[in-house]
Amino acid sequence: MSSGRFIAVDGADTAAFAMKQIDPDVVAAYPITPQTEIVMKFSEYVANGEVKTRYVTVESEHSAMSACVAAAAAGARAMTATAANGLALMWEILYIAASYRLPIIMGVANRALSGPINIHGDHSDAMGARDSGWVQLYSENNQEVYDNYIMALKIAEHKDVMLPVMVNQDGFITSHSVENVEPLTDEQVRDYIGKKPAHFKGLLTYGKPVTIGPLDLQDYYFEHKMQQHTAMQKVLPVIKEVQEDYFKKFNRKYEIIEKYKADDAEMVIVGMNSVMGTVKDLVDELREKGVKIGAIKPRVFRPFPKNEIADILKNFKAVAILDRADSFGSFAPLYAETLAAMYKFEKRPYIRSYIHGLGGRDTTMELLGTVANDLIKMKDSGEGHLSEAYLGVR
């Protein structure tokens, strides 16, 4: 059962509220716009004794992630949050967190990477970290931010996974927009996340000293990276299991890839995070006019649900892929990986890449309307197939 109690909060406060309910042993964080509200709100919980967390106000994001790695290696539940350049500064340690198999949870208020400096929302930060070995969850709205945080812990700490999880939400667009959120009660969260699992051992174990982070040379490194790959392969079934359990317990249904009015659609728009709210509105509008269009929203980008997305997309006539990040000199990330996933089919839909919303540029109904018009043309003629467009750029 869900709690039936609503609170009006922005996405950042939603994240802080979920963190409060999780009550991690250690939070180490450094302020950066637009994540700041998360750490500010969480600091209030610490200041008022509403959590038992040891809060480490580190001097940089590099130290934030380092302290989280160390805390998790010592057997603590560790969390942090960041954005943009902060995530970039953590980059070195992100890989280490994942390779040490530490179930750290990190919120990212997705923001454009410098330069030029820009504090607004896009996915260049998270996409830059996509190969770091972290599980990446994406959130369309504040409710999804909340539920992703709670589920992230269960995914990260699962014995088959033991990997860090990044919970993404769009900077400002989500992090600073107030919406109604229906949180679980503190008791529900406490019962749901439970005690730390038995495989959660670490440095603070007396009498059985453990060496974490040794030098790993040509004779073992490859095998250890293979174990990481194997762990990643087990993540999607675990996410499915966690989502089903969450639905059973709290009546909130999530899927790895959300399908919106897609069952009888001829065309779909695929994208992640907040833009999908606007896409759904557009779909509603066009459906009233009889246009057979739907929306597809991957909620997980790492591991990439390649078979799931390919199986969903194969039957449509035309597909538009929205990426809120570029990959200079190559294909945009979601587009590239979707193309690769579709290759296994002989008959594939017409497909086109749209890069949108860089540096927080609004992706409006009007702009998305041009995507729908392109799709209508492309589905019969193939016009624009495999081309790459930049939405709304002057």
Partner: protein
């Protein structure tokens, strides 16, 4: 408290032999002096560097205490995280009973401390974690092949300050890390030289038992980096102190004092030996003698005199 060798040899060494540190390297000796100075349960973090790579080649480890290495520049941030975990788990009553007296010790070389790790060190000192940071200072990036660091002395021939027709080696004076650390107003900071093991262990014990952040800068002669014989570290450690190249200092709650041979020199009970005595048998300074760079030798002596005057004054002489 005095330490007796007959007691110490009965204790289990925290670092097992068989590691791959160079023959004659004092860094493992330093680790033992620090960790054997108290019987607390200890958790160590280690910056990337010689000590880390040579003691933990998977699937082997020499460490008989819990030990964590993350990266080069963050040993201080790592120890902060372990210490935070200790408190976070204690807040929830989840700390194992036998770890209640645990102490947290970070190791790093001079590259990982003076240079790339100084931000993390400064942050950890300012936040007041209950921890000890130990820098083993071998005056250069030795693990990567003898490059200069901000701890390398003037005139040293390194692979990034090579001697050439236009170069006599490193041109800049060493960074005064102790003063930087002391400027954080932490309760305890000291310098140690491993030949004076009693001084080092007493300081280690104080540093570990101090509530709040403590810092030790340990002199660590480097066999390949300084181009010295494998049996040279003890003599060079002694000469570094006797020449006042590496004074033995202790700063307790802001009060500076000199210890060991440095105190005797300051008190006029021992003579300050000329710097050339420390330098003349080290390959990294050899060019200064063969090329008769007396001006550079004078620069080095002047720098030692300047810093010795400063530390003496700080200690109230």
């Amino acid at each position: 408290m005095a330490f007796l060798l007959k007691d110490l040899i009965k204790k289990q060494a925290p670092l097992a032999s068989g590691h791959r540190m160079c023959a004659g390297c004092p860094a493992p000796v330093i680790v033992k002096q620090v960790l054997m100075s108290t019987d607390h349960p200890k958790v160590c973090t280690n910056a990337t560097g010689c000590l880390e790579v040579a003691t933990t080649i998977f699937p082997f480890t020499s460490w008989k205490v819990p030990w964590l290495h993350i990266a080069f520049e963050n040993s201080a941030a790592a120890v902060s995280g372990v210490e935070a975990a200790y408190h976070g788990l204690a807040n929830k009553g989840e700390l194992p009973e036998d770890m209640k007296n645990a102490k947290f010790i970070a190791f790093g070389g001079d590259g990982g401390t003076y240079d790339i790790g100084i931000q993390a060190l400064s942050g950890a000192l300012e936040r007041g974690h209950n921890m000890l940071y130990v820098c083993y200072d071998n005056e250069g990036y030795m693990n990567t092949g003898i490059q200069r660091s901000s701890a390398t002395p003037i005139g040293a021939n390194t692979t990034t300050t090579p001697v050439g027709s236009q170069s006599y080696g490193k041109r800049e004076i060493r960074k005064d890390l102790l003063s930087i650390v002391v400027a954080h107003h932490i309760p305890y900071a000291a310098t140690c030289a491993p030949h004076d093991w009693m001084d080092g262990m007493k300081k280690s014990q104080k540093a570990i038992e101090t509530e709040g952040p403590a810092f030790l800068n340990y002199f660590s002669p480097c066999i390949p980096g300084w181009k010295i014989p494998a049996d040279a570290w003890r003599k060079l450690s002694e000469l570094a102190v006797k020449t006042c190249f590496w004074p033995l200092i202790e700063v307790e709650n802001g009060k500076w004092s000199l210890t060991g041979e440095s105190k005797r020199i300051a008190d006029g009970k021992a003579e300050k030996v000329p710097a050339v005595e420390f330098m003349k048998n080290q390959g990294r300074f050899k060019h200064l003698f063969t090329q008769k760079k007396d001006d550079v030798l004078a620069l080095i002596q002047a720098d030692i005199d300047r810093s010795w005057d400063f530390y003496r004054k700080m200690a109230g002489y």
